[in-house]
């Protein structure tokens, strides 16, 4: 089959970017979308050009490295699927496909289709952990966790940190990412001691870099793990509670 790619190129953060068009023929529908991109890059290099820079690592949909907006949709047309797991059989022969980077104020451009997602790590550093030093843990079965709780925590913990939720959001908000991280830990009994400190710190870090949530729900549709926006409601509830629970006297400095 043959497709025509209309693809974003930008030499660097400060440089102007624009679309370039490339025909890619001789591909088959068993290929993944990124294998098709590999072939295009091979041909560009052999023809004396430079490859289009994009990121992808595990190609199993779990590491969260790949990040392409395909025909206006983060990770492309297949629901619940990361870019690397998208296959050419989802496109018709002769298709014209637009490929762009994640676009959000919180993700500064680096080159071509590569952006900087470091602020997601900053949100985790703000409180996305349970403070337990190595070696200080009690026997794992001393703290039973109801199966339904462990399962729901897992649904949130399945987040692969790709940032599609941010790219999909008209406001460039990172609420689904942050909510997934908060809910994973706040649901579990192990996470209770830091529950309200955690949500406050993470939400406030998030607010520094990303937009506000206005309940569009685009994030849930774009999420390759189909993480539910119910977790955002849970995060908001915990955040409001934290403002009561974490109240400090005015003379306290921290």
């Amino acid at each position: 089959m043959k497709v025509t790619l209309r693809i974003w190129r930008q030499p660097g953060p400060e440089a102007d970017g624009g679309f370039e068009e490339h025909d890619v023929d001789g591909i088959n529908e068993e290929m993944s979308f990124l294998e098709m991109m590999d072939i295009l890059n091979d041909r560009l290099v052999e023809g004396g050009g430079e490859p289009i820079e994009f990121e992808s690592d595990c190609r199993e949909g779990i590491c969260g490295t790949c990040n392409l907006v395909i025909d206006g949709v983060p990770h492309g047309p297949q629901l619940g699927t990361a870019t690397c797991q998208l296959h050419m059989r989802k496109f018709s022969d002769g298709a014209r496909i637009t490929v762009e980077p994640w676009r959000a104020a919180g993700f500064p451009m680096i080159k071509d289709l590569i952006v900087d997602r470091t602020h997601l790590d900053d949100i985790v550093a703000a409180g996305g952990y349970i403070s337990v030093n190595t070696g200080s843990a009690p026997d794992a079965n001393l703290m039973p966790v109801a199966k339904s709780v462990a399962d729901t925590a897992f649904d949130a913990a399945a987040c692969i940190g790709c940032g599609a939720c941010v790219a999909a959001c008209p406001n460039g908000a990172a609420h689904l990412f942050t909510a997934a991280k908060v809910a994973h830990l706040n649901l579990l009994p192990q996470g209770q001691p830091e529950r309200y400190r955690r949500v406050e710190a993470m939400v406030e870090e998030m607010d520094q870099w990303f937009g506000s949530c206005t309940n569009h729900g685009e994030c849930e549709t774009a999420c390759p793990q189909s993480i539910s926006i119910d977790f955002i409601a849970m995060m908001n509830r915990d955040y409001v509670k934290s403002k009561f629970k974490n109240r400090r006297l005015l003379s306290q400095t921290n």
Partner: protein, 638 residues
Amino acid sequence: MDTVLDAKIPEGPLADKWDNHRFSMKLVNPANKRKYRVIVVGTGLAGASAAATMGELGYHVDVFTYHDSPRRAHSIAAQGGINAAKNYQGDGDSIFRLFYDTIKGGDYRSREANVYRLAQVSNEIIDQAAAQGVPFAREYGGTLDNRSFGGAQVSRTFYARGQTGQQLLIGAYSALMRQVAAGSVTMHTRSEMLEVVKKDGRAVGIVTRDLATGEVEAHSAHAVVLATGGYSNVYYLSTNAMYCNATAAWRAHREGAYFANPSYTQIHPTCIPSSDEFQSKLTLMSESLRNDGRIWVPKNPDENRPAGDIPAEDRDYFLERKYPAFGNLVPRDVASRNAKTVVDEGRGVGDLKNGVYLDFSDSIDRLGADTIEERYGNLFEMYERITDENPYKEPMRIFPAPHYTMGGLWVDYNLQTTVPGLFAIGEANFSDHGANRLGASALMQGLADGYFVLPYTIGDYLADWLNTEPVGTDDESFSAALGAVSDRTEMWLSKNGTRTVDWFHRELGKIVWDHCGMERSAEGLEKALSEIPALREEFYADVRVPGSGDTINSSLEKAGRVADFFELAELMCRDALDRNESCGGHFRVESQTEEGEALRDDENYTHVSAYEWGDSGPTLHKEELEFENVTLTQRSYK
């Protein structure tokens, strides 16, 4: 040749060695720890857990990853689970049994003391991970669930659906980010290590290239820890992620760290067969699937009915037939080789006849589709996305693929390489899996090294350097390494040949797979040893590396990695040729039993082969393996 390597194994009975050692090692007191700087390269399970733990202890840690985030390391793709000797199921497990299974699974080519320590700390890993909030599978009563895995007859594998590696890595990553926030760990993302820097024979730092800006930087410390994973991508097609490479370990090797057992590679039995020549990687389907899936091929090579229409009497459940005791749960090397045998007989399935069936219909009949979905739902979805076939309705097609490398940098009991001050942990070292790793043991070893071994053994080395400053980055040892990296960058960018780096990588991969893959022969290895240098020469003459060095340049990054793979591939073949026996994942056709099983030669090869780099070729050193607690037998899973 034949310098005998000293692994510095502590004295005393097996069960007391680690305790005795912890008592006899030098300690660094808490107030002094903050005077030390330690570099950790890699943020997978081993690197993240080591950096986090050393940060908690008070060391100042600089941690490096070539990814955009520490959470992306390939540990994240591990699916099935992590072993521990908890015996929560009351089915007869114990530390000694986990130790014994691991030694036996490794075909008696691993170090007893290390493996026993691994089994000892395995239980603490589960406690630590559960406390961090890793959402392990639970029973309705709230306790932890277990499943069984290949090479074991007990259920000791803890799991989080089919995403155990991801959840354990998020646990280690969150502990790491906590230390980043606390200021004890400094994170360097998009930084690729390209040299180890040595002064007076010991490791004093590294040189990195910033992948976004191209800046070449020097970093100094009191000690350097490599947690940079394995080298399965030498085969080009493997289950490893696209960026996985051997460069950090290989650069260390060229600076004097011995490379041990390079020929011990693991071919994982359950991967999705390739569909065309442009395939970029192979996808693993967790070994846990073998708990409920039955492996078979048609008896008749000319069979052309769909799987569901083939009656039981025309099917060959070859693992259950040959190995009644372990059945579909034989270790990986045995399962892989048997799959290759039936495919070579022309009985493969699928359009390309390059796979075997992994069939869930009996389990679905017995347990219901819901239970199977609960256990493997995400794996089934992944399979369907890739193949467009529904494994609830028709059997999966699977075939072996390169997956894990047991070989790696040689380390002593303290996980220190032959370069003082340079440590290697996780898959990057060679230590615990012998000639074959059991399923669910990689996560265990990475976290054992990172959480519970290295943070303590490194103190024994650091104690001697109290109140010394790290060697300054203005020292000539650093300027030499910086110059070497810049020169190599220049050299690659001047390559204006006709072929891409990937083309050479694919061709190299074919040679290594054909001659140093699932089966090796003296004839094939000698052929590979003449083909690899020839292809390498062509690579240096005809590769094309476009673009510049001051921005993201994927061709440039790959050129350096593939150059190192060329050298490593040659060493793998040399080692495979030298080891004229079959053991675990290393199968020499010249050395097999009448039934076609791997036949060891304990008299001549009960040793670790560790190679020293030399410009005119490697020098082989040996570490004799002594077994005081297990008896060497022909492995039997019948």
